[in-house]
Symmetry: C2
Subunit: 424 residues, 2 copies
């Protein structure tokens, strides 16, 4: 089936400003609470949220094979489990219904009133119940920077890095949607030169600029998938701030990896932008040398050109752009990550989330964490209010944005934003 | 409220053999499918399974504050979320109803027929939907053995180990109940002396003898808990085989920890034995030196005397006891593990599972993995059929058992059993 929703010449009868992240070519999916206290699955065009459970109830999806209550839920998991064919039909239908050439819904004021909300009047919630969350480490620049800072500049990349997408299991419970503020975590750390560890609030809280993809049911336990099919199981992407407490992490992570240095919070943007919507922004990923194992080999344009920005906004002050990066810098593609994840037979389910790892670019202004931007605190960043940052201060808000642009259309991810409150 | 269910002088009107793991003093919780294809929550006495949804429907719990359909579910999460007070009331009630001194249910044949199944006629399922699974590394003997084998015998324990319960996030999706057979995983590894890694079936599949505890809702994101309260959030324990592919693990795990070397499968015993039932088997944990941070300090008997055994059963041959260990060897207690887990504000939910880490004792016959028992393959183990094992062979079944005994009573965990099928 064609992705007719992506037609760049479409316009919506809903007003959309030219710089909106959400033109009719986007049609993302999310979960929101209406002002009438109803939790529903929805989409968004411009500054309007669209209640998909109301649309379904009014019969606008009646020829699509959907379970009756699929949209009257507080998480997208069941819808995602319907699979790619259904996602595409639903997204195409929404685009048709809101197309300025289509009078069907446009002329039904009563229906419109049941379906359309001002985004100011809704509250965004977590879009999926994340069964398992995996974080990869797939930016060569990031892995090289971290290896240089913490280990050995001459052997910054570890021997396995170029052969497989290194990843680890993360914590699902502490994934929160944009706007949920978090607290500076307590933890054990061992200050440089100290004989003994200390316990107290982390002194080195950092962001990590990442994106994460959300899967549908991929495989049964024991089965592997072929890389050619991997993208069929990816529903869409969100922006992902993998908050990290560097001092806690450094003390705890040998030999079993990051644990409490990460699990105090991870913030995601609330609208899942589908892989279908990103189709016009395909781009080749970096050349891989050495050639990967056959089960990881791909041809063609398997990455996406998504411009990423991170801002620090101190309390009562302005946003400061601290880094500009791009999803296309990732050395390992999403299809490679997912295929590798199932290579041992590990089963992946609808609603699982996989983070890219920190996305650093080749230049110092494109690094994806304060650890790298301030080079472990040796090069503080100057903000517009005159203050300096080595890491994140109490009451700083960290805001991530991501957009795709070509000559016809711009689509975006909205915001991934969260304020770091003082330790409790 | 008293734990009257534990009264050692109770006898049940259901027949229980003297060596059963499930006397009336146990009353574990699990999920099973009946021969009529109904999924229900249940308990067990002797060779009989008890349908708790039927008991509830017939009014036997009517004065306990339970949601109507709490037992007519395919997972225990909602029941567990009711909290410790309710678990205790329900367990006490079940013990009362099946007490030989109580005629109430004993004399109602019609009710008994709706409630009681022969365990041969039911199929045990996964007891909880595991939201997040964490694996600790809390046996000093195991950590010392692994450090000696892989790193440096003179500095086997890493510097953080005596200060905090080292742990990492694991994979929930591939946790399976006893009886579900698994496949030898494929993966990348780098053979000793080789220049390049290879991809193929793992050659070094191992078991890890562990136990795991299951929590109720502990805290909101950002909150920590006090160690004095930690046990109130622990519902119960199961046996846990943390299957490990040593060759995959060795190649992938630096620097972010175990990933595909573990996530191909973990097997658990299906009956959750409550912490209440284990109360008579409290014992002090090993003395901790150095003294832990204040947030991890405990007094009294905070561990449990649970004898553990692991058997290897080759295809068409006998069970071979390969190790005898004990839960009491754990250096860090469950309360310390859980308190540490929330020390950064990480939220823990009903149905989360936390593994102990491999439980090795002080003597070579008490080591909890083949890696240690065969000392990385240098000391093969002889089986009764004349064959040798360094690691686990195709079609070997690995069986774990755990029992608590005192002069009055023996309670046990049943079996955690799974066969390793050849690679697919």
């Amino acid at each position: 089936m064609q992705i007719t929703a992506n037609n760049p010449s479409r316009k919506s009868w809903l007003e959309v400003s030219s710089n909106s992240d959400f033109p009719i070519q986007n049609i993302p999916f999310g979960v929101f609470l209406t002002k009438d206290n109803v939790m529903t699955i929805g989409s968004r065009i411009g500054e309007y949220a669209i209640d998909l459970s109301a649309l379904h109830q009014l019969g606008y999806f009646k020829d699509i094979e959907l379970v009756d209550d699929v949209f009257l839920q507080d998480r997208l998991n069941d819808f995602i489990a319907h699979g790619k064919g259904i996602w595409r039909q639903v997204r195409n239908r929404i685009a048709d219904l809101f197309d300025i050439e289509n009078a069907k819904l446009q002329n039904k004021k009563k229906h419109r009133n049941q379906i359309i909300y001002d985004v100011q009047d809704i509250e965004m919630h977590l879009p999926v119940n994340v069964g398992d969350y995996t974080d990869f480490y797939s930016s060569k620049e990031h892995a090289t920077n971290v290896g240089t800072i913490f280990r050995d500049p001459d052997n910054a990349l570890l021997p396995n890095w170029l052969h497989l997408p290194v990843g680890y299991h993360g914590r699902s419970s502490s994934i929160v949607p944009t706007g949920k503020n978090i607290h500076r975590p307590y933890g054990q750390s061992k200050p440089a030169g100290a004989e003994k560890p200390v316990f107290g609030p982390s002194k080195l809280v950092d962001f990590e600029l990442e994106m994460a993809f959300i899967t549908t049911d991929v495989n049964k336990l024991g089965e592997r998938i072929a890389i050619e099919n991997a993208e069929d199981y990816i529903f869409g992407l969100v922006l992902f701030n993998d908050w990290s407490a560097r001092d806690i992490q450094a003390w705890e992570y040998v030999p079993l990896g990051p644990f409490l240095g990460k699990s105090f919070a991870s913030t995601i943007s609330p609208w899942i932008v589908t892989l279908d919507a990103l189709e016009p922004f395909r781009i080749e990923s970096p050349k891989q040398d050495p050639k990967p194992f056959e089960y990881l080999q791909q041809i063609g344009a398997n990455s996406f050109d998504i411009q990423l920005e991170t801002f620090i906004k101190p309390e009562n002050s302005d946003e400061n752009l601290v880094t500009k990066s791009n999803f296309k810098y990732m050395y390992w593609t999403m299809a490679q990550q997912l295929t590798h994840h199932t290579s041992n037979g590990c089963n992946v389910r609808a609603g699982d989330m996989m983070g890219s790892g920190t996305i650093s670019g080749p230049t110092p202004d494109s690094y994806g964490s304060m650890l790298e931007l301030s080079w472990r605190g040796t090069k503080p960043i100057k903000l517009s209010d005159g203050s300096e940052r080595k890491f994140i201060n109490d009451n700083d808000t960290v805001i991530m944005r991501g957009t795709c642009k070509n000559k016809d259309v711009k689509i975006g991810f909205g915001e991934c934003s969260s304020k770091l409150l003082p330790a409790l």
